[in-house]
């Protein structure tokens, strides 16, 4: 077990180190902050794209056309079945007559050309809106597949191509985030490892003496690991601060409405989980960086 005096000793050493080589620590924290800032930036873009998609979702509708030969009773049960899909937020039944009236209205003064045609030539349809959670490309396709398998439903239309493209953009952002993030993570680990190596070398004689008088390994290692942790947390804090600054200054320059794209109010800063993820990553980077370096340079002990 560690004695209180030893814990106090470790804390004093960390504080002393931050005082003595302040700039080295700041530089390392800064490096981590840059990594986390870039990673966090991608997270921010991704979250907002997802947010936009959900906002647009109310305009994304599935049109399921009923076959004209279906008897009225079967239509009832079909509607009941479709409405029980868990993904569906609401659906509106458009009868043949409504479809016909709508069509006539859209033709306006030229509706005369329809004279003599029967309302029966247009199929009845269902206009379906999905719940927010299911407004991704995959979930949409899944619902469409099930609709197509229903007896009594003919054509099913939805903005497939558009959804696909948007999905690809989102996927691209996610990939860039993890690949670039991974590279930066590795590079940052190296930089931290190097800082710790320098710190170890700078205190080499001190470490040697400590070992000769019987200090435990834990006591010798702990200050370095603790420094790494603190640096990581500082770096994460710095990154979040910069992201927030960037977010605020960017959004304040946007017009209140971006036309059909979005309302400014729809743009959101990072969710709590993402903030936690950033802080956690900073913590892990700092700790791992010093542990790896210690393993390499204190091997003999």
């Amino acid at each position: 077990m560690m004695k209180w005096a030893q814990i106090a000793f470790i804390v004093r050493r960390v504080l002393k180190s931050f005082r003595e080589v302040f700039w080295t620590h700041l530089l390392t924290s800064g490096t981590m902050a840059v990594t986390l800032f870039i990673f966090g930036g991608f997270l921010l873009i991704q979250e907002n794209l997802q947010g936009l998609l959900k906002g647009w979702g109310s305009r994304i509708q599935i049109f399921a056309y009923l076959e004209t030969s279906v008897p009225a009773a079967d239509t009832e049960s079909l509607l009941a079945r479709v409405n029980s899909y868990p993904e569906i937020e609401r659906s509106r039944f458009v009868s043949q007559k409504e479809a016909w009236d709508g069509f006539k209205r859209s033709l306006g003064s030229q509706s005369g050309v329809l004279e003599g045609l029967s309302a029966e030539i247009l199929p009845a349809s269902l206009e379906i809106t999905l719940k927010t959670a299911y407004r991704s490309h995959g979930a949409l396709a899944e619902v469409v597949k099930r609709l197509r398998a229903e007896k009594g439903i003919g054509e099913v239309e939805y903005p497939e191509e558009w959804m696909e493209k948007f999905g690809l953009v989102l996927l691209g952002v996610q990939w860039a985030q993890w690949v670039l993030g991974g590279f930066l993570f590795a590079a940052t680990l190296l930089i931290i490892g190097n800082t710790v190596k320098l710190a170890i070398l700078a205190r080499k004689d001190e470490i040697e003496i400590m070992q000769l008088v019987g200090a435990r390994r834990l006591l010798i290692k702990a200050p370095f690991v603790l420094e790494g942790m603190v640096q990581g947390l500082l770096g994460a804090g710095l990154a979040v601060l910069c992201l927030w600054q960037l977010f605020v200054s960017l959004t304040s320059q946007l017009p209140a409405s971006l036309g059909i794209l979005a309302e400014r109010a729809q743009l959101q800063f990072l969710a709590p989980d993402s903030l936690l993820l950033l802080v956690g990553l900073g913590w892990v980077m700092g700790t791992l960086g010093s542990l790896l370096s210690l393993r390499r340079f204190l091997k003999r002990w």
Partner: protein, 226 residues
């Protein structure tokens, strides 16, 4: 206190620094480890505080078989041993007082208590007015006394000194030896490695003579004044 059973040490790849050493040092003894340069004195001391491990044989220090110690065990062993070196090994950035107090702190003594004890030791060793000086500002003899204070701060059962007088003028050397004699009188077991034969003539403790890695003779403690 110290028992070596047929101990050999071969430095890689195949340099035999110690061969077949048989040695017993009882609690409270004062022993000179002497012999020409390269005889293996430093190597033998290193085996005792587990800086090096024996290639063959058993090393027992204060009832512990040092070959079997874990990292923690090595740390605990070293807490019972005070070490003094020819080159003092003080930390140049710390004051004399902090150099001594550090050794107590890292094994768990509270900071205030460590500093108080360090101060008392330094005063006893005649460094009362120099405790705030850093090693580069101290003479060789003063530095060695700081190092001795550091070796004593954890109340060691065993003090190992490797050429403690090697960098000191004869007067300072004798003064330093008298400090070791004092510890010995208080019951501490002391082992001093030296190739300075003059010391052996002036201080009449037991001598173990090493030559080319083997025990090649020695003498029992002789009564003072011979």
């Amino acid at each position: 206190m110290v028992h070596l059973f047929t101990v050999s040490k071969i430095y890689p790849p195949s340099y035999p620094a110690l061969t077949d050493i048989q040695l017993d040092i009882e609690k409270g003894e004062f022993v000179f480890l002497s012999g020409p340069s390269g005889a293996g004195k430093t190597t033998l001391l290193k085996l005792l505080f587990r800086e090096e491990e024996a290639t063959d044989g058993q090393v027992v220090v204060n009832g512990r078989n040092v070959a079997r110690l874990s990292n923690k065990g090595v740390a605990r062993l070293r807490q019972e041993i005070g070490l003094v070196f020819q080159d003092f090994r003080l930390l140049a950035r710390l004051t004399a007082l902090d150099n001594v107090a550090l050794a107590a702190e890292v094994v768990g003594m509270a900071r205030r208590e460590s500093r108080r004890k360090a101060f008392h030791l330094l005063r006893e060793l005649g460094l009362k007015d120099r405790h705030n000086a850093k090693p580069p500002a101290l003479s060789g003899g003063e530095q060695q006394r700081v190092a001795i204070a550091r070796a004593l701060v954890n109340d060691p059962l065993l003090v190992l000194a490797d050429e403690p007088t090697g960098n000191l003028d004869p007067e300072m050397a004798d003064e330093t030896m008298r400090l070791f004699a004092q510890m010995h009188q208080r019951g501490t077991t002391v082992v001093v490695a030296t190739h300075n034969t003059g010391l052996l003539e002036r201080f009449h403790h037991r001598v173990v003579l090493l030559q080319q890695g083997r025990v090649a003779g020695g003498r029992k403690e002789c009564p003072a004044g011979v």
